[in-house]
C-alpha cells in the first residue's frame, strides 16, 4: 500500500535548461559547468524517484560547434533533447517561457550563469517572473518530492546548508555547490538525437548596442592612508597596530569562559 502510493506520487516532470559553455582557457565550446551539474542533479533525482521524466532544453542556433557541445550533455545518459531553434543573438527568454508554459514541467533546473554572452544570471529570474513560479538559487541537493512539495538543500557561503520546502512548480538554479557532473560518454552522445522546434525569436537589440571586450585585469586596490601628519603616515606604513582588545587577567577559568561564551553568543556562531 505504502510503496504503491509513493510510486504514484513520485515521478515528476523535470526540465533542464542547458547552454553552450566556454572553456576558460581555450575559449572552445563545451558543455557548461553549472548546467551540467544541473543535469546531474536531475539524473540523480531520476535514479531516486522512478518515473521522473527529464527533458533537456536548449534555445539557440543549429550549428556544428554548438551541436558538439550539446552532445556533451546527451552523453551523460540521455536519448534526445529539444532544441528551440533561433538565430544567434536572439533573446532566449521568450521562447523558453513559451515552451515551458506549454509543456508545464513541475521542476525547471538551470545553471546560475551562462559562460558566454552577457552571463548576467538573470535568465532563471526572468523565467520565474514570467511564469510566476517560486525560485531557489544556489542549490546543493534535492532531498525529496512529496505531494507537490519539494524539499531542498540550499548552499550558503562558508560551507553551510539550509533546508527549504518549495511548492511545485518551481525553478531552481544551480552553481558550483551542486555535485560534480558525471563524464560524458562519446558513443551514446553520437547516437542521441535532437528534436528541433522552430520558434519565433526576437533579436536582443539591447545587447547588440553594448560594447563587449575581453575582460581587462581589474586594478588592484591601493592602501590609501589619509593621515594628517607624517607621524600617522609612518605608523600606517610601518605596522598596522593592534586595536588592543579586552584582556582578562587574574580571572577564574569560569569567569574567562563566561566572557568567551558571551562573545560567541553575540557573534551567533554557537548552534
Amino acid at each position: 500500500m505504502q510503496p504503491d502510493r509513493q510510486q504514484q506520487q513520485q515521478g515528476i516532470d523535470v526540465a533542464v535548461l542547458v547552454s553552450i559553455g566556454r572553456h576558460p582557457t581555450t575559449g572552445r565550446a563545451r558543455r557548461a559547468e553549472q548546467d551540467a551539474r544541473g543535469l546531474e542533479l536531475a539524473l540523480a533525482m531520476e535514479a531516486e524517484l522512478p518515473g521522473t521524466r527529464i527533458s533537456v532544453l536548449h534555445a539557440g542556433p543549429q550549428a556544428d560547434d554548438s551541436e558538439s557541445a550539446l552532445r556533451g550533455y546527451l552523453g551523460m545518459g540521455l536519448e534526445s533533447m529539444t532544441l528551440l531553434e533561433q538565430p544567434a543573438g536572439s533573446d532566449a527568454i521568450l521562447s523558453l517561457v513559451e515552451h515551458l508554459a506549454a509543456t508545464a514541467p513541475q521542476l525547471v533546473i538551470t545553471g546560475a550563469r551562462a559562460e558566454r554572452g552577457e552571463g548576467s544570471g538573470l535568465l532563471p529570474y526572468a523565467l520565474a517572473e514570467h511564469l510566476g513560479w517560486p525560485l531557489v538559487n544556489s542549490l546543493a541537493s534535492v532531498e525529496k518530492v512529496e505531494n507537490g512539495v519539494v524539499t531542498l538543500l540550499q548552499a550558503l557561503p562558508r560551507g553551510q546548508r539550509r533546508r527549504l520546502k518549495v511548492r511545485l512548480p518551481a525553478i531552481i538554479s544551480v552553481d558550483e555547490a551542486a555535485p560534480v557532473a558525471r563524464q560524458s560518454a562519446f558513443g551514446p552522445a553520437r547516437r542521441a538525437t535532437f528534436a528541433i522546434t522552430p520558434t519565433t525569436p526576437e533579436a536582443d537589440s539591447e545587447l547588440a548596442q553594448w560594447h563587449l571586450a575581453p575582460a581587462r585585469k581589474r586594478p588592484k586596490r591601493l592602501k590609501i592612508v589619509k593621515a594628517a601628519s607624517a607621524r600617522d603616515r609612518f605608523k600606517a606604513a610601518a605596522k598596522s597596530e593592534g586595536k588592543g582588545g579586552q584582556v582578562l587577567a587574574d580571572v577564574t577559568p569560569e569567569q574567562g569562559a563566561e566572557a568567551i561564551y558571551k562573545l560567541l553568543k553575540e557573534e551567533d556562531v554557537l548552534r
Binding site: 531557489v136 550558503l156 562558508r158 539550509r162 527549504l164 593592534g242
Partner: protein
C-alpha cells in the same frame, strides 16, 4: 590703550632664560603661555617674525625634551588635540535631496561588510556627482543591525558609511531565506520613494539573488557584476558602467540602468564625511505575501567537513594545548572547525591540512579562537582576515594578545573545560524548556 608697544628688556631676558626662578611668572605676565604651551613664533616689534626654538616641543615622559615635527604635538595637551584629529569627518546633512539612491546592503551577521561599504561608497559617488543638486542615499536594512557598541555609536557607523536615510525592517518574516517578503518590502519602497537608482552587492550572500528578483519585478535589465562607473552625458541616466560578463571573460560597457549589482572594490568606502542616517518609516504597510518557499532553517553540517579557508568559526590549538582529547571534545561541543599552529602540526597532534598561517591556510573566519598560540608573525598572517579573535594564553605579553579582541589569561585546559561545561549546561537547559 596706546598703540605704542612698550618693551621690558629685563622681562624679555627672563623669558629667554628657562632656568631663571621667575621664568614661569614672567611668561604668564607676558601672556606667552596661551593655550598651555609657550608661543614659539610671533611677530616682533619691527615686523620681523621671531621664533623661540625652546618653546617648541614638550617634555617627554622621562623628563627629556622631545620635538615632534610632524605637526601633531604630543605630550601634555595632546589628548584634546588627538580627539579632535580623530573627529575630522565632515558632517553632511542633505535635507532636500534632488533624488534618491537606494542601497540594500547584505548586513552579514548584522554588520556592514567590506563589500557593503564599497557599495555605499559607489552610491555616494552617484549621489554627490552634482554638488548643486545632491541626492540622498537611502539604505534598506533587513534584520537586526549590530554595529560596534550600541545606541548612538551604532547609528554613527551607518552615518559614517555614507547613509543619509535608513529604512530598517526587522520583522521576523524577513529572517532566513525570505526573498518574497523582502521583494514585497522593496516594491513598497519603490512605490513610495521611487529612487533613481537601486544598487545592491553582487554577492552570493543575498544581494545577487534579491537584486535580480528586484530588477525583474521593476522590469529593468539589471547590470550585473559592475566594477566601474563613469559619468556619461549620452546615457539616459547620466552614467556608464563596466560590468563583468561571460563567466568573467568579458567586460561589457553599457549605460547604467536603474538597477545595478556591483562587485566588491567598485569604489572606495566613505571616509571623509559623516551622514545623518536618519530613520524613515514607510507610510503604507507592506502587503504580506503568502510565501511558497518555507525556510526550515540551517542544517547542522559537520564542521570538520568544512574547508578551513571558509569556515566561520575556528578553534585553533597550539603548543599551549596540553590535553588534545579535551580540545577535540571542545571543538565538537562548540561546533567549531579545528585549526592548528605549526608547532601543533609538527608535533603530530593535528593533520597538516589544519595548519593556519603563512605556510598553511589563510582563514577568513568570523570568530577565530586561538588556544595556547603565541601569535608568531607567520601565524598572524594567516588570520589577517578574521573578524574577531579570541585568545586563551598563559602569557599576557605575547603577540596574539595584541591582535585579540578578547584575551583570557589562564590555563587553556581549565578554561576550555569551563567553556564546554557552560555550553553544555545552556544547551541542556534549552532542551528541557523545549
Amino acid at each position: 590703550m596706546s598703540e605704542i608697544i612698550r618693551r621690558d628688556p629685563r622681562r624679555e631676558w627672563i623669558a629667554r632664560n628657562r632656568l631663571h626662578p621667575e621664568y614661569a611668572a614672567v611668561l604668564a605676565a607676558l601672556g606667552v603661555n596661551r593655550g598651555g604651551g609657550a608661543v614659539s613664533e610671533w611677530l616682533g616689534p619691527n615686523g620681523v617674525v621671531r621664533k623661540d626654538p625652546r618653546a617648541i616641543g614638550f617634555i617627554g615622559p622621562n623628563g627629556v625634551k622631545r620635538i615632534d615635527r610632524s605637526g601633531l604635538q604630543q605630550g601634555g595637551q595632546a589628548t584634546a588635540a588627538s580627539t579632535a584629529a580623530r573627529d575630522s569627518r565632515r558632517t553632511v546633512t542633505i535635507d532636500q535631496p534632488a533624488f534618491l539612491v537606494a542601497v540594500v546592503p547584505d548586513l552579514t551577521g548584522g554588520r556592514l561588510s567590506g563589500h557593503d561599504k564599497d557599495l555605499l561608497g559607489l552610491a555616494r559617488r552617484v549621489a554627490d556627482a552634482d554638488a548643486e543638486q545632491p541626492g540622498a542615499v537611502v539604505a534598506i536594512l533587513f534584520g537586526e543591525h549590530k554595529g560596534e557598541g550600541d545606541g548612538e555609536l551604532k547609528e554613527q557607523t551607518l552615518g559614517e558609511a555614507g547613509i543619509d536615510r535608513v529604512v530598517h525592517l526587522d520583522d521576523e518574516f524577513y529572517a532566513g531565506f525570505s526573498p518574497e517578503a523582502r521583494l514585497a518590502a522593496l516594491s513598497a519602497v519603490e512605490r513610495e520613494m521611487t529612487p533613481r537608482f537601486w544598487l545592491l552587492p553582487d554577492s552570493p550572500l543575498g544581494g545577487a539573488d534579491l537584486g535580480r528578483r528586484l530588477s525583474l519585478r521593476l522590469g529593468e535589465r539589471a547590470a550585473t557584476g559592475v566594477w566601474q562607473i563613469e559619468a556619461d552625458h549620452e546615457s539616459p541616466l547620466g552614467w556608464r558602467c563596466t560590468a563583468r560578463g561571460g563567466a568573467g571573460s568579458l567586460d561589457i560597457q553599457r549605460p547604467l540602468p536603474r538597477v545595478a549589482l556591483v562587485l566588491a572594490e567598485c569604489a572606495e568606502p566613505v571616509d571623509e564625511t559623516r551622514h545623518a542616517a536618519e530613520h524613515l518609516t514607510l507610510a503604507a504597510s507592506i502587503p504580506t505575501t503568502l510565501s511558497r518557499i518555507e525556510d526550515l532553517g540551517q542544517v547542522a553540517v559537520d564542521p570538520a567537513g568544512v574547508a578551513l579557508a571558509e569556515a566561520e568559526f575556528i578553534l585553533s590549538g597550539g603548543n599551549g594545548v596540553k590535553q588534545w582529547d579535551a580540545f577535540h571534545h571542545a571543538a565538537k561541543v562548540l561546533g567549531a572547525t579545528e585549526g592548528a599552529s605549526r608547532v601543533a602540526v609538527d608535533d603530530g597532534f593535528m593533520a597538516r591540512d589544519r595548519q593556519v598561517g603563512a605556510t598553511g591556510t589563510w582563514v577568513t573566519a568570523r570568530v577565530y579562537m586561538a588556544v595556547g598560540i603565541s601569535g608568531a608573525i607567520q601565524h598572524l598572517q594567516g588570520i589577517q582576515r578574521c573578524d574577531k579573535v579570541v585568545a586563551i594564553n598563559l602569557d599576557p605579553g605575547c603577540d596574539i594578545i595584541k591582535r585579540a579582541d578578547l584575551a583570557v589569561i589562564g590555563d587553556s585546559t581549565q578554561i576550555l573545560a569551563a567553556l564546554v561545561a557552560m555550553v553544555e549546561q545552556q544547551r541542556g537547559g534549552q532542551r528541557d524548556a523545549a
